[in-house]
């Protein structure tokens, strides 16, 4: 039988273009439905696991899906901000833990998430290198950020300006990396975590600058009204928070009015959850409370509907591709009639000659299945990331 396979292989190797096209065609027929199924299963697991671990989310009224995707994955469009007072409202209800999230900013491709220390305990995130956030201007990075940006405790990360042409926009803030989180294989791996107040500093709501009351700053004073100094345009604002200048950082206005994009609500019990949800059903409410599990189920239902259409299309394409492959093979048989006749004339065994042709099909199909298996493996390995990128982009 080795001779049969050898001759089949020689024929296929002599026609690399035809063989490659056949292998790719059959590979797609096998891979598309299987890979799609794996992808959907992966996305289902991926999306529901994180959603199930997040009881409730409060955010400004708008798309619940956008709110949940941004609060859980930090990748979707940033939802309309709401007042920080909503965080205080939940916390003061005494029925739940309120964890604020402010996700507006990024450092290159990584989201900067302003939050509280409760977030780390809630998600079970552990600092494996350095320490956790302690003072303004510090950040803790996920394992993925540490790896891709090659940063660790003692290094610095600079927030990205939102628009290079917006001169009046947000100024970049140089943040000190104080810790690296243990890899969690969740979106948290790709995040730069800062204290909520540090996020507000990036926003420009808090800032630090030279003390205008000191004699050396006299050239930067525009006017003085009693104990109040009004600086001119030459006042130096700090774009890095250090031990020397941290005292000069301050916030203007009521922090209750400052923005957050969402609040993760962790109710004490089911009753508290029900009461809290009831408080946000009023039409007058400017915020909404959503259950991420429900939102994700709706999304998955949509994905499954789309999947059934895609599978139907794939089956049709697969059948036509298969028909083409069969046609190519039959045409090839016609072209090889003389070669087959020669083998028969010389005295070739019928079973061997048929075996050679069958082996060619077998080798092509085996190669296609192996490649399809490899692709399915890659899909299983990177499926979560792919589906997240597809959904969130």
């Amino acid at each position: 039988m080795s001779s049969v396979i050898y001759l089949a292989w020689r024929y296929l190797a002599h026609h690399p273009v035809k063989t490659t096209i056949l292998v790719l065609s059959i590979m797609l027929i096998v891979y598309l439905p299987v890979g799609l199924r794996v992808l959907v299963n992966q996305s289902e697991d991926e999306l529901t696991t994180r959603a199930e671990a997040t009881p409730l989310v409060i955010g400004a009224k708008g798309s619940p899906l956008e709110l949940v995707l941004n609060s859980l994955y930090f990748e979707s469009d940033v939802p309309t901000p709401m007042r920080h007072a909503e965080v205080i409202r939940v916390a003061e209800s005494g029925k739940a833990l309120a964890i604020p999230l402010y996700t507006r900013f990024r450092a290159r491709t990584h989201p900067i998430v302003g939050t509280s220390l409760d977030y780390f305990a809630f998600r079970g995130l552990r600092v494996v290198e350095g320490r956790n956030l302690a003072v303004l201007g510090e950040c803790v990075v996920g394992a993925g950020v540490a790896e891709s940006a090659d940063v660790g405790p003692g290094d610095a990360i600079i927030s990205s300006p939102e628009n290079v042409f917006d001169l009046a926009g947000v100024y970049p803030l140089k943040m000190k990396v104080v810790g690296v989180l243990e890899r969690s294989h969740t979106p948290d791996d790709r995040v730069i975590f800062v204290d909520l107040k540090t996020a507000w500093v990036i926003e420009g709501l808090g800032h630090g600058h030279q003390d205008l009351s000191k004699p050396e700053a006299s050239s930067q004073v525009l006017r003085r009204e009693g104990n109040t100094y009004v600086g001119n345009a030459a006042v130096v604002q700090y774009n890095e928070i250090t031990e020397d200048n941290i005292e000069s950082f301050h916030f203007h206005g009521d922090t209750g009015e400052f923005p957050v994009t969402a609040v993760i609500v962790v109710p004490d019990d089911d009753k508290s959850s029900a009461i809290l949800q009831g408080r946000y059903v009023s039409q007058d409410e400017v915020v909404q409370i959503v259950e991420p599990t429900g939102v994700m189920k709706e999304l998955l239902a949509t994905i499954l509907t789309v999947q059934s259409y895609v599978v139907a299309a794939v089956v049709v394409i697969g059948l036509s591709t298969l028909a083409t492959a069969v046609l190519v093979f039959l045409l090839s048989l016609r072209l090889r009639r003389r070669e087959i006749a020669t083998m028969m004339k010389i005295g070739g065994s019928k079973s061997y000659v048929i075996g050679i042709l069958a082996s060619e099909i077998l080798v092509v199909v085996t190669a296609a299945v192996v490649f399809a298996g490899g692709l399915t493996f890659l899909t299983a390995k990177f499926g979560s990331a792919i589906i997240r990128a597809l959904i969130l982009s």
Partner: protein
């Protein structure tokens, strides 16, 4: 070596008919079939080889009644006992020279491809002057080289009978002589019978017997073709 008796062959379609009352070809002889196209020369080679079977008559080749064998047995008999050489060489374009020569040993389980067979294949190729082209693909060879490969393929199993259908029909004079020299040298040295179909009367002097076929296909009494002087 070959005995054809009371043969009456007719293709299902068409007027062609081949009738041979008696034809005997002795062992180790060299015979040429000549005659106009359509007189049954190639058909008789195919019947002797067992490629086609005649509904009436008896064909005994190398002591075996080929006409009594079933298809499978005829194939096995053919691959072991008969070397076939074709006018169009009939090499497999996707195989190199060595693999083409070894082809009979790869397409029938009755033939065992051993190290000795491989060595003999290389020796044969070297003898006919293509030893340096063993790994060259068949479609990259000249006409003369291709026919030499085809001859090597037919000689490798050391057949008792070589059936050649216009083996020099597509060759220039120099290659024609070279290929015939190879075949005749082998036949002489191995006590092998050679039956060749040819239209080239200039070659007839090389053969011991020449049989004119013009009468076989129309002869209603099937009294055979005419022997002519080589």
């Amino acid at each position: 070596m070959i005995t054809v008796s009371k043969l009456d062959f007719k293709y299902p379609e068409g007027e062609f008919r081949l009738c041979i009352a008696e034809l005997v070809i002795e062992r180790a002889s060299t015979v040429a079939f000549i005659g106009p196209s359509g007189t049954g020369k190639t058909t008789l080679l195919n019947i002797i080889a067992g490629i086609v079977s005649a509904p009436a008559g008896r064909v005994v080749t190398n002591g075996v009644d080929v006409s009594a064998l079933n298809d499978r047995a005829r194939r096995e008999f053919r691959i072991k006992n008969i070397g076939l050489v074709f006018q169009e060489f009939e090499l497999l374009s996707y195989l190199d020279v060595l693999d083409n020569i070894l082809l009979p040993y790869r397409i029938n389980p009755a033939m065992r491809l051993t190290k000795q067979v491989r060595t003999r294949a290389v020796e044969l190729a070297t003898e006919v002057g293509i030893g340096d082209k063993l790994r060259r693909n068949a479609d990259l060879l000249s006409q003369g080289e291709r026919q030499r490969v085809a001859v090597c393929r037919s000689l490798l199993p050391e057949p008792a009978l070589i059936l050649a259908d216009e083996p020099t029909g597509n060759l220039d004079p120099a290659n024609k002589d070279r290929v015939l020299d190879i075949v005749f040298d082998y036949v002489t040295g191995h006590d092998t019978t050679l039956v060749t179909v040819t239209h080239d009367h200039a070659l007839l002097g090389r053969f011991e017997r020449v049989i004119e076929f013009s009468d076989f296909h129309t002869g209603s009494d099937g009294d055979g073709g005419r022997e002519v002087e080589p």
